[in-house]
Structure formats: structure tokens, C-alpha cells
């Protein structure tokens, strides 16, 4: 399929050509299995639902899905609740993961690998099995089917995704920086807030992205551990496709979720860059 001699830049530098050879397959893969489905979803959101699920035959199309979506306050409420749950989960993950990641990063090199292994060990068993284990844990305590159960499950599932990037970041910190800060008059508390914490922000940000976005789309945890009032966007989307058989509405919900996440990530990046420039200007 690949014909190097047919490429227009046949006289390009060898390094140039090998760059193409390496990057082309993943690019094609993403085009075929990411961009194309995304466009299909956009298209599906503008069509009419079929009588027995799926989509109505071709020319029929409308903005009904979006009209319906924006016509009912309940959808906005579920969006808001989902973002709240995602934010709370992310925050709790940061608070729980930070001391753990710090502890691992400060351990002797040999023990570090073992501790990292323990963090990722839960991945060895199936995710649903582990959530069922939480049902058994929370049931006797009368906490099952409550918002608490949903948050606990979310935090449990996503904690490793916060620990690992944080650990990778903290492990790289030069201990001499803390000694220097202490030597220059900083207490342990000041050392943390002035040196360790600001330097770990990139780790926190990547961890937050790895937790926040998957939580928004997660439907298994609220479905298994949550009550009727705990459904999130993920559940809503799943329902449209599997139970209500309203593919256009499900597609429209998916698109709204994607747009919201992108807007949030974009503004966070913008704020971060502005904040950085701000500190430059101050000092």
C-alpha cells in the first residue's frame, strides 16, 4: 500500500522520510477510528431517531435532539452535577494521592518500584469485579446507593491515575532545593508551599486531566453504587443508546459533553499561561 517512490518529496532528506514512515500509521489510525466516528456522531445528532432504534432513513433530519436538550432544565442539572462530581473526585484524588506519591518518591530506590507496582496492581483484576466488591463493602454499612458511594467508587477507581503522574513529577525534584530553602530560612511547611507544591503543579494538572475527564463519562460506578438521583451524563448517554433508543439525543449529549470538556481544558490552559506570565511580571 505504501509507495515511497510515489511520494512527491522523493528527494526529501532521509530523516524527513523516516519521520513520515513513523508518524503516518498512527495518523491514519486516528483519522479512521477517532475523527471519522466523531463526525458520524455529529451527523447522527442531526438525524431523526428510527422507529425501532438506530436512525430514520436518510433524508429525514432535524435539530430536534438539540431543541429537546436545551428545552429541559433537567439536562443542565445533570451536566452540572456531573461536573461537580468530577471536580470533587479530582480534588479528593489530589488530597489522597499527594502524600502517597510523595512517600513513594522519598522511598529508597529499590522499594519505589515495589510501591508503584502496588499502586497499579488493582488493574490486574477486572474493574467491574472491583466495583462489585465495593457493593459488598458498602451494603452492610448502609451506604450503598448514596452519593457517598458514588464518590467513594469514583475516587477508588481513579486514584492510581493521580498517583502515577504525581509520583513521576515528585521523584524528579532535586532534594538540594529543599535543603537550600531550609538553609535560607524556610520552615518545613514553607518549603512545601514555596518549593515542592509549585514544582509539582504540572504533575497535578496531568493527574487532574486523567481523572476529571474519565469521571465525566463514567456510567458504571453511578449505575452500580449510586441511587436513582445519582445518575450522571455518562448514564444519560448510555440510556439514550441502549434503553430509549434515541440515538440522535445520545449523540447530541455526547457532543455537548465533548464541547464542555474542551472549553474547560482550553480555559484552564489559558488561565495557566496567563498566571505564569503574571508571576513573571511580579518578580
Amino acid at each position: 500500500m505504501r509507495k515511497p517512490e510515489a511520494m512527491p518529496a522523493a528527494r526529501a532528506q532521509p530523516a524527513d522520510r523516516s519521520k513520515w514512515v513513523v508518524t503516518l500509521p498512527p495518523t491514519l489510525f486516528l483519522l479512521a477510528f477517532f475523527l471519522a466516528p466523531a463526525l458520524i456522531v455529529v451527523a447522527a445528532s442531526l438525524r431523526d431517531p428510527g422507529e425501532f432504534g438506530g436512525l430514520a432513513p436518510w433524508p429525514a433530519h432535524s435539530f430536534d435532539a438539540y431543541r429537546f436538550l436545551f428545552g429541559d432544565i433537567i439536562y443542565l442539572e445533570i451536566f452540572a452535577r456531573s461536573f461537580f462530581v468530577a471536580a470533587l473526585t479530582t480534588l479528593l484524588c489530589i488530597v489522597l494521592a499527594y502524600p502517597l506519591a510523595w512517600l513513594i518518591a522519598r522511598s529508597p530506590a529499590r522499594r519505589r518500584d515495589l510501591l508503584v507496582l502496588l499502586v497499579i496492581l488493582p488493574f490486574a483484576s477486572n474493574f467491574l469485579v472491583r466495583i462489585y466488591a465495593w457493593i459488598m463493602l458498602l451494603g452492610p454499612a448502609n451506604l450503598l446507593y448514596t452519593p457517598f458511594a458514588v464518590i467513594a467508587g469514583m475516587v477508588y477507581v481513579h486514584l492510581p491515575f493521580m498517583i502515577l503522574p504525581l509520583y513521576t513529577n515528585l521523584e524528579k525534584h532535586d532534594p538540594a532545593l529543599l535543603e537550600a530553602a531550609q538553609d535560607l530560612g524556610a520552615s518545613a511547611w514553607t518549603c512545601f508551599w514555596r518549593i515542592t507544591f509549585p514544582l509539582s503543579l504540572p504533575g497535578i494538572f496531568s493527574g487532574a486531566a486523567l481523572v476529571f475527564i474519565p469521571v465525566l463519562g463514567m456510567f458504571a460506578v453511578p449505575e452500580l453504587l449510586g441511587g436513582t438521583g445519582d445518575i450522571l451524563i455518562g448514564n444519560l448517554i448510555k440510556e439514550q443508546f441502549l434503553e430509549n433508543r434515541d440515538w440522535p439525543l445520545g449523540s447530541a449529549l455526547s457532543i455537548m459533553l465533548t464541547v464542555a470538556v474542551l472549553a474547560l481544558a482550553g480555559s484552564a490552559a489559558w488561565a495557566a499561561r496567563k498566571g505564569l506570565h503574571g508571576t513573571e511580571a511580579v518578580t
Binding site: 535543603e179 531550609q182 530560612g185 518549593i195 513573571e280
Partner: protein, 361 residues
């Protein structure tokens, strides 16, 4: 009263003594250097002064007050680290302001002192830059500014010039001397470079295996080393095994196997028959053609084995009759020619009676 007093400190690490019964006294305004090979315990002493480590025995006093139990952040002294340890997320000005912020200085004072100190190290135009944007020499100067800005009683410097290239190191040495004179702060400097120690210090403590071998002014250390180790570690030197043949007041006659008698001077009463070493600096030796006569007490014949033309000087390695290879440095400026003698030439090495030092074993 001495500013810093170290009294009989010993520090043990898992089975070995890194610092053995060291006593030192450093005066206010002094530039004091701890010199020694790596692993001699000099950095351990520095860390104990800074408070990152504590002696197992003995005490460290600053202004007559014991520092035992005082954490590093409460000690009125700062450290310049070998790796500089600049805070990467703060600008140059932010780094220099840090110790002032820790001391709760007012905003105005911080701004003024940071500007003053940056001017002192010629970095005013780099104030808004981040450490990763600076060259090695500039980072070094930021680290110095950060250590000096809050006017500590004592500045500790742990091999601060070690990461710089040779030319920059010499420039920084000159700056460091000027800086220390200007701010008047006491410096305790750690290095393994004898050249650096000689160039910078008021006094040098030479260390080996946890002990101070000799503590003296640079010229005393160089001309009157206390023992073989100091003689060999500080500068180039010829060390010859000798036996004392005669001793009378100032005059000393030393017998070197297969060579004959060396005339030397020594003020100490020394017993005939004692064994020791004769230490002689290469630049105090003159190399003559073997037929030339020299009006010097000590004259031994040999053959040029190697010579190294170093520009300003030529280093001759002359093999004497007993096989000992003596190193002699001859200045090149005195003569119009670059070289006096070729490899293989028979020559005579000569030196004054008071040129060398007798070292007891």
C-alpha cells in the same frame, strides 16, 4: 573572640569516622578554606556547620553560642551549594528575594536589597530571567547573591566553582575575592583544588581522612608544609627519602641513598640517624649544563629524561644518579631561547641550602 569555633567534633557513619576530633577557630571577616581530596570529610564539616548534620561528639559555636539543636533555618548562616540549587520556578530576582521573604523583611527593603545585591554580582539586567535561561557563571553569581543578600554571619561555599570551565573559574575566583572584601562577610569555602585554595584564602585547613593535617596561611602551607601529605597535596613537589647525617643548630646534612649529602636548614633540634623526607619545590631548582659551575650549595648531576614546554616555564624531569627523578621548573622569560637543554643532555640540578624542607616521618 572567634566567630566560629569548632571544638573536637567527631562524626561517624556506619562503621567509619568521616570527621575525627577536628578543632578549628575561624575569625570574623576571614576567608577560610577546607582543602582536601574527595571523601576527606570537608563537606561533612560544612554540613554540620549548616545544620544538615550533627556531630556525634564535640560542639560547634557561633559567636560563643552552641549551635547544637538549632535547625538549619534558624542558623544565621547561608550555604552556596555545588549544584547552585536555584529555585527553577522563580526568577533571578525571586531567588534572591527568597531569604529576605523568609526573614519577613518589608516589601520596600526586599526590593532595595535585591537590586543592590544583583548590582554587586553584575546581574541587574537578568533580574526577570529564569535560572534555565542563564549560563553556568551567571547561575553561580545568582547563588552567591542569594547567599549574601540577607547578610549572614557566615557564608558556607561547597565547591561552588567546581561546575565551571577553567577560564570562567579563574574569573570567578577574582570576583569572589573582591566580593568577600566588599561585603566583609566571613566565608568558609570547601574545595579539592589546591590552586583555588591558595588563590582565595586567608587561611587553609588541609584535610585527610577526617583530620586536619595542617591549618595555615597559603604561603606558609606552601613553603613550610607540615608533612608529606600536605607537601604533596599542595602544589608540585619533589619528595626524597633521606636520613639525617649531621645536625648542628641551623645546619642539617641529609643523606640520600646513592646520591650523597644534601645541605639543608632547620631550626628544630633533630637527632642524627632520624629518617624522613626532603621536600623541594621544582621552581627552586636551577638546571645547568653539566660543565657549568654554579655557586649553589647543592649540586647533583643527572640526565634530562623528559621536558615539557609550558609556555611561561619549562618543566624538566631530570634523572639523578640514584634513579630518582627530580622535577625542575625553569622560567622561559629569562632567556631568549625557549629551551636550555634537550632530552638526554647531561645536566646538573642545583639549589640553595635553604630551598628545601626536611619533613619528619
Amino acid at each position: 573572640m572567634a566567630l566560629l569555633e569548632i571544638r573536637n567534633i567527631t562524626r561517624r557513619f556506619a562503621g567509619f569516622e568521616a570527621v575525627k576530633d577536628v578543632t578549628l577557630s575561624i575569625a570574623a571577616g576571614e576567608f577560610f578554606t577546607l582543602l582536601g581530596p574527595s571523601g576527606c570529610g570537608k563537606t561533612t564539616i560544612l554540613r554540620m556547620i549548616a545544620g544538615f548534620d550533627a556531630p556525634d561528639e564535640g560542639d560547634i559555636l557561633l559567636d560563643g553560642q552552641s549551635l547544637a539543636g538549632v535547625p538549619p533555618e534558624k542558623r544565621p548562616l547561608h550555604t552556596v551549594f555545588q549544584s547552585y540549587a536555584l529555585f527553577p520556578h522563580m526568577t533571578v530576582a525571586g531567588n534572591v528575594a527568597f531569604p529576605l521573604e523568609m526573614a519577613n523583611r518589608s516589601r520596600d527593603e526586599i526590593r532595595r536589597r535585591v537590586a543592590e545585591t544583583l548590582a554587586l554580582v553584575h546581574l541587574t539586567d537578568k533580574a526577570a530571567q529564569f535560572p534555565h535561561e542563564l549560563s553556568g557563571g551567571q547561575k553561580q553569581r545568582v547563588a552567591l547573591a542569594r547567599g549574601l543578600v540577607n547578610k549572614p554571619r557566615l557564608l558556607l561555599l561547597d565547591e561552588p566553582l567546581g561546575a565551571l570551565d577553567a577560564k570562567l573559574r579563574v574569573e570567578m575566583q577574582v570576583e569572589l575575592i573582591a566580593l568577600q572584601r566588599e561585603v566583609g562577610i566571613t566565608f568558609v569555602f570547601v574545595t579539592h583544588s589546591q590552586q583555588e585554595a591558595l588563590a582565595l584564602s586567608h587561611r587553609i585547613g588541609v584535610m585527610r581522612e577526617g583530620r586536619i593535617e595542617q591549618c595555615d596561611e597559603p604561603d606558609k602551607l606552601y613553603t613550610l608544609p607540615a608533612n608529606r601529605f600536605v607537601a604533596d597535596f599542595v602544589g608540585r613537589i619533589n619528595l626524597m627519602d633521606v636520613e639525617v647525617a649531621a645536625s648542628s643548630k641551623v645546619l642539617l646534612k641529609l643523606k640520600a641513598a646513592g646520591l650523597g649529602e644534601i645541605a639543608a636548614t632547620d631550626l628544630r633540634p633533630i637527632a642524627v640517624g632520624e629518617r624522613g623526607a626532603f621536600a623541594l619545590r621544582p621552581e627552586l631548582i636551577r638546571v645547568f649544563g653539566h660543565r657549568e659551575s654554579a655557586d649553589l650549595k647543592n649540586r647533583f648531576e643527572g640526565r634530562v629524561k623528559e621536558l615539557l614546554y609550558l609556555g611561561d616555564v619549562t618543566l624538566y624531569k631530570v634523572e639523578l644518579q640514584n634513579g630518582f627523578i627530580v622535577e625542575a621548573l625553569m622560567p622561559n622569560a629569562a632567556s631568549g631561547r625557549a629551551k636550555f637543554h634537550e632530552v638526554g643532555d647531561p645536566v646538573a640540578v642545583c639549589w640553595r641550602q635553604d630551598a628545601g624542607v626536611y619533613l619528619r616521618n
